[in-house]
């Protein structure tokens, strides 16, 4: 008993010794699957399971599992150990009311075994179907045809009336037109570039410039850059912009 418990506590810490038969647990779909496999391999009688032996084997095999993945397996291991302990309890000879602690486990194993047979049937059937193709064309889900519009003139007018009544009076903003003078700005920029071939944005826009002047200069520069008449360069965001006359295009 103590030996088994020792093994049990060693589930995560000890690497299995080289003599241990290591089983890939991924191939088992659960603790009952593993248990059935053990019983079949050892050719045990399912109605008279040598519980101590099976429990030890079971624990041995789940040692390779990560503990968090093994919760279902650990629960089964604990169950096996409890049954083993119950089997060891002394009982009066010929006691009629003694119930085999393994009975519940046997019932579950048989139920599981029956399900595995269905799995075999399904697996064969699924393989059979997988080996044949159907037509691959899937029609697109057709949108249901739109219902014809049923609307009389009076209903339409009533709707318009309703909308007009709930709609607030439009708020009107007064706009003062202030012309943006792009050609004028271009003339100024060209004049400056003719003098020094290279200018900073702050040279072109006076400190006290009005918004329309700033906008005109900006649009002028962009227009010239587009036409290849100047080159615009900014080393980093928000840095001053350098404008140079494009000598390359002049040369061309």
């Amino acid at each position: 008993m103590s030996e088994t418990v020792m093994e049990f506590t060693g589930v995560t810490s000890d690497a299995p010794s080289s003599s241990t038969f290591v089983v890939e647990l991924a191939e088992f779909s659960g603790p009952l699957d593993l248990l059935l496999t053990l019983i079949r391999e050892e050719q045990l009688d399912i109605y008279d399971i040598p519980i101590a032996r099976v429990a030890a084997q079971f624990v041995l095999r789940i040692r390779t599992l990560e503990l968090n993945e093994a919760a279902d397996y650990l629960e089964m291991a604990a169950r096996l150990l409890r049954i083993k302990a119950q089997m060891l309890l002394p009982r009066a000879d010929g006691a009629e009311d003694w119930e085999d602690p393994r009975a519940e486990l046997v019932r579950r194993l048989l139920e599981y075994q029956q399900m595995r047979e269905v799995v075999d049937v399904l697996e064969r059937a699924g393989e059979d179907r997988r080996s044949r193709f159907a037509r691959a064309y899937l029609p697109q889900a057709a949108a249901p045809p739109e219902a014809p519009l049923a609307l009389s003139l009076s209903e339409l007018l009533a709707a318009v009336d309703r909308i007009l009544r709930v709609t607030k009076a439009p708020s009107v903003h007064e706009l003062i037109p202030r012309a943006v003078d792009v050609p004028g700005a271009i003339t100024i920029i060209k004049a400056i570039l003719a003098l020094r071939a290279r200018a900073m944005w702050t040279d072109l826009v006076k400190r006290d410039a009005e918004p329309w002047q700033i906008l005109s200069t900006l649009l002028g520069i962009l227009e010239m850059a587009k036409l290849g008449e100047c080159r615009v360069q900014q080393d980093s965001p928000f840095a001053n912009v350098e404008i140079t006359s494009d000598t390359a295009s002049e040369a061309a």
Binding site: E111, M115, E117, V118, R129, R132, F133, R135, A136
Partner: protein, 180 residues
């Protein structure tokens, strides 16, 4: 082939899903149930006797034209079509339980399989193989699951009764229960 058989063949060719007999019958309102059955037989025989690359199969509560198994590998090699992914052992076990005991709740499945099945149920539901068919009595009114027509189609079953009955299953480990 008779005109009715040709009509049914065209419909079966056009459809990607199995067509139930009633729907086939609706293609020709003059055709009796027996005539449709005879026409289906005719198509099947035509494919089998003349030796076609396809066959007519009764599946998932309907009829469908499928390629013959011997050509699957070549078709897949040429990447003209690919087989659906195989189901995992966990998915198959869960499906097996639902197929036999539906409607069935998650707790019962976990009790029999001995593992938690939340994610398996989710993926089976996403693949359309199971669906929620009701709610159980008791704590929290648990969702109950059942199989779908897609389940029959996936396993090439005509109907659920085609699965072996539970009492027909030979439990491999069964021995005469001896008094414990």
């Amino acid at each position: 082939m008779t005109p009715l058989a040709k009509l049914l063949e065209a419909a079966l060719f056009a459809s990607a899903r199995p067509i139930p007999s009633e729907e086939l019958a609706s293609l020709d309102t003059d055709a009796s149930k027996a005539a449709v059955a005879a026409a289906l037989d005719e198509i099947r025989e035509h494919y089998d006797v003349d030796g076609h690359g396809v066959e007519l199969v009764e599946i998932g509560g309907g009829w469908q034209i499928l390629t013959r198994a011997e050509y699957t590998e070549a078709i897949e090699r040429a990447q003209l079509a690919s087989r659906p992914a195989r189901l995992s052992a966990a998915a198959l076990e869960t499906l097996a339980l639902i197929a036999y005991r539906q409607p069935l709740g998650r707790a019962e499945i976990e009790e029999i399989r001995g593992v938690s099945v939340g994610s398996v149920l989710k993926s089976l539901h996403e693949r359309g193989l199971i669906d929620v068919v009701g709610r159980g009595e008791g704590m929290g009114r648990p969702l109950l699951y059942g199989t779908t027509p897609m389940f029959l189609e996936y396993f090439a079953l005509r109907h659920l009764e085609e699965l072996p009955r539970a009492d027909e299953l030979a439990v491999a480990l069964r021995a005469e229960p001896r008094p414990l």
